[in-house]
């Protein structure tokens, strides 16, 4: 019995050392893979953009409102995929008010890709809304976007609605394709405040990061 105790202790010590080396190896592998992957991924970590560097709010004084709907607001399972080239804004089409009986999930909004949004934004034809948390917006955002979090208190939504006429063209984005906040916010603006010119940028901030890789992937 006495002879087995030191052996067990030695074995445990060797085992602990072996596990420790394995742990170091796992960490080293994670560091190497992580850094290499980050350099190659278009959605790799990039430096945040403080508000002072790129933010220009040019919509507060003169809300964009031409009365021309971006496209019709739809209910049902088929959403509109609209890729509007620069300056070629679609001809006015009669809009369909959102069906109050439709659930948020049933509401469908036109969808724009970043190149189209970029052109419209540059032409001051839309108001771009960042539906992510205000704190996230403060860290990094699409230049020219304004912040209105999808889960903002009603008072904030009302204050927002007081600033913009009901026919203002809005394009709303959040994180990426997997994010629902832009759709949530669009549904609120349509149903609670009667906005009709609403469109989404489903690719969200991720699409912008990929398309505008300035400073991207810098560790």
């Amino acid at each position: 019995m006495n002879s087995t105790m030191p052996e067990q202790s030695k074995l445990a010590s060797e085992s602990a050392g072996y596990v420790a080396w394995q742990a170091v190896g796992i960490l080293a592998a994670a560091v190497v893979i992580g850094i290499v992957y980050n350099q190659t991924s278009p959605l790799g970590v990039r430096k945040p953009t403080p508000l002072g560097e790129q933010f220009t709010l040019n919509h507060s004084a003169a809300p964009v409102s031409s009365g021309e709907p971006i496209t019709t607001l739809q209910t049902g399972s088929e959403g509109a995929k609209t890729d509007i080239p620069s300056r070629d804004f679609p001809a006015p089409t009669p809009h369909t008010p959102p069906n109050p009986a439709a659930s948020t999930a049933e509401l469908r909004f036109p969808e724009l890709k970043w190149p189209a949004v970029k052109a419209l934004l540059a032409a001051n034809q839309i108001v771009l809304i960042d539906a992510r948390l205000a704190e996230t917006y403060a860290l990094s955002r699409i230049p020219g976007a304004i912040s209105l979090a999808a889960y903002s208190p009603v008072a904030e939504l009302q204050a927002f609605a007081a600033k913009f006429s009901r026919d203002t063209r809005f394009v709303i984005y959040c994180n990426s394709e997997t994010c629902d906040m832009s759709h949530e916010l669009a549904a609120k603006l349509a149903r609670q405040f009667g906005y009709t010119n609403l469109a989404l940028m489903p690719g969200g901030f991720a699409e912008y990061v990929i398309a505008e890789p300035v400073g991207a992937n810098s560790p």
Binding site: A23, A30, N38, V45
Partner: protein, 156 residues
Amino acid sequence: MKIALEMSPKQVLRWVLAILLVWAALSKIANLNEFYLNIALYRLPLPDTWLRLAAMVMPWLELLCGVLMIAGTAWRAALFWAMILFGSFVLATGQAWARGLNINCGCFNLDFLGAGFASFFETVKFAFFRALLLFAAAVYLWRSAAESTGPRSGPA
């Protein structure tokens, strides 16, 4: 099916932790920049360089740990890191909750649950208790594993 039935409760627990790690890792790896922005919101007293490095490395550490724990290779070392990861999640979410930060945990991609459920399960309060549970499970497995002494002993 037979294999599953032959698994001990500890093995099942290890698999559950491993699958959660893989799930969390994949949702982060898909968009590292989003993960970085999420952890930046925790306002941890760490230099930004550290946060960016953590955002690059942590998802891969989670993935490696999860895969190794499932495979049963170097699983105790993987479990060690899982314990460290869950412990750090407890600290991060706990301090965010204590400071009243209104942020998303950024731990899992739960959008398939719908925005309402996802926002609830991603609150720091819920995430804190979830992390605490996972940390406790990892510590339990670690202590159990410490009882076996062989350097290449099989999974618990």
